[in-house]
Amino acid sequence: MRFLLREIYYIVLDFLQGMGASCLFLFRLLRYTPTALLRWRIVWQQIYSVGAMSLVLIMVSGLFVGMVMALESYHVLVKFAATAALGTGVALSILRELGPVVTALLFAGRAGTALTSEIGLMRATEQLAGMEMMAVDPVRRIVVPRFIAGAVSVPLLTMIFCAIAILGGYYVGVDLMGVDQGAFWSQMRVNVDLVDDILKSVVIKSIVFGSAISLIAVYEGYYSLPTAEGVSRATTRTVVNSSLAVLALDYLLTALLFHGA
């Protein structure tokens, strides 16, 4: 029993230490963000690398998610002769939950791991040390532009994911299942709220998710052990921690933004 309590104590202690170190690292990143934005070319390159290069994955995933949502919803709604509500159902599911969460999880797998392994390998091959010896701070030059790029890319990718997913839902619902297209769009327009469903759900959630994933990815890369195994473990931690963080933050944000508790 004492052994178990001691193990739990160390796990909690490790978790709190990690959280503290991540917060300090975040403050450091935020302090350097304004100067990094002045060198917009470097940030732009990173947005291309982590954002634009994830576009195909996000679009294809969005299309299938929207199609599945429409198919499942149609078979439920048709029992109640309520297929006119298909557009609303698909749009609300995508905008409120699936869009931000699935995009964030895909981004963590595609770009988060790339950020961690890139920075980790730069440390392992002494490129970061070389930069420090040239009097260039690697946090400012390497880490901050990647953090900004991640935080900016996820909201943009989420919007694209949602748009494609709704089009996928339209294709299955209207073209394949024969739902009336006027009802599909008009019901969606009436029931989707700009503030609650777009601003709060898509924009705010995706900004928070993007910032969290990028922070975890660059933190794990920057502090990874400079060995092959160290980089590999850091990459794994990025996926696991990012996914858990996204799901936990999703619950917190939903509770805070929509239910005031």
Binding site: T125, E126, Q127, A129, G130, M133, M134, A135, V136, D137
Partner: protein
């Protein structure tokens, strides 16, 4: 003339009473070293004696547990990050593996410090980069990626990058390891030519006795965290100490053990001792 007889201002680096431990192992124990300005000073010693760590201490990458490290009269341990970076702009550091940026071409690698620290127009940066690459004989490789270079070429590119900002001090970490005879000869010659023509102070960490002796003005031999011997290559060559003779001549027998401390060999083979 002993190195410590030089006037304080003649020394670019002064280390006194340096103590540094990693875990329970003492890497340096009251180590004293002075690096004279304008000379090529070598720091030699068997593998694992902390030569590279010593370079990292001198450049502020690692902080000593105790002792004073003065570089250009400034105490490294007391510098702020900005002050340390200011000092590093006067330093060049050649890493053992080159530490080139793998996503940049040779040209971009050499241009990197110029773009970060100067506001030179692009055409002037181009001139400086080509001059530095010409100095190391790799102007024709400007568009190659680091993955396309041999080990010797990568180190020469790294050398061109290290001298891009015309530093006052240049640190070489094992510059001769793994080079073919031609590349080695080129690097040895480059170290001498750059030091003399640019008026640098060069500090070489290496265990390649022959090459170091051919290029250095003075050498320190360190072992067990202390300086074992100091002098010109000729003085070290004729040193009477058994330790120095064994190291300088690469003898198998002597006070320097070849084996890392280990339990009894026969006992371990018979399973009486654990690995």
């Amino acid at each position: 003339m002993a190195i410590h007889d030089l006037k304080p201002n003649d020394n670019v680096v002064e280390i006194t009473g340096l103590k540094y431990r990693v875990g329970n192992k003492a890497i340096f124990d009251r180590l004293n070293i002075s690096i004279p300005r304008g000379k090529i000073t070598a720091i030699m010693g068997p593998s694992g004696t902390g030569k590279t760590t010593l370079l990292r201490v001198m450049t502020g990458q690692v902080l000593a547990d105790r002792g004073r490290v003065l570089v250009e009269g400034k105490n490294i341990a007391r510098l702020s990050t900005d002050e340390l970076y200011g000092l590093r702009k006067q330093m060049g550091f050649l890493f053992q593996n080159g530490a080139l940026f793998t996503d940049y071409t040779v040209y971009e690698n050499v241009a990197f410090p110029l773009r970060e620290h100067t506001k030179l127009p692009e055409n002037l940066i181009r001139h400086v980069v080509l001059m530095k690459l010409q100095a190391v004989g790799l102007r024709g490789a400007a568009n190659l990626m680091p993955a396309e270079l041999s080990g010797g070429m990568a180190r020469r590119v790294a050398l061109a990058r290290a001298i891009a900002l015309d530093p006052k001090i240049i640190f070489y970490d094992e510059p001769f390891t793994g080079l073919d005879p031609i590349s080695m000869g080129v690097i040895v010659r480059l170290i001498r030519v750059l030091n003399d023509s640019l008026g640098l102070t060069s500090i070489i960490v290496s265990h390649d006795v022959e090459e170091v002796s051919s290029v250095s003005d003075h050498s320190y031999l360190i072992s067990d965290g202390k300086v074992v011997a100091y002098g010109t290559p000729e003085e070290l060559e004729h040193n009477k100490s058994a330790w120095v003779r064994q190291f300088m001549k690469g003898l198998a027998d002597g006070p320097v053990p070849f084996h890392y401390p280990a339990p009894d060999y026969a006992g371990q083979l018979l399973g009486e001792e654990q690995i």
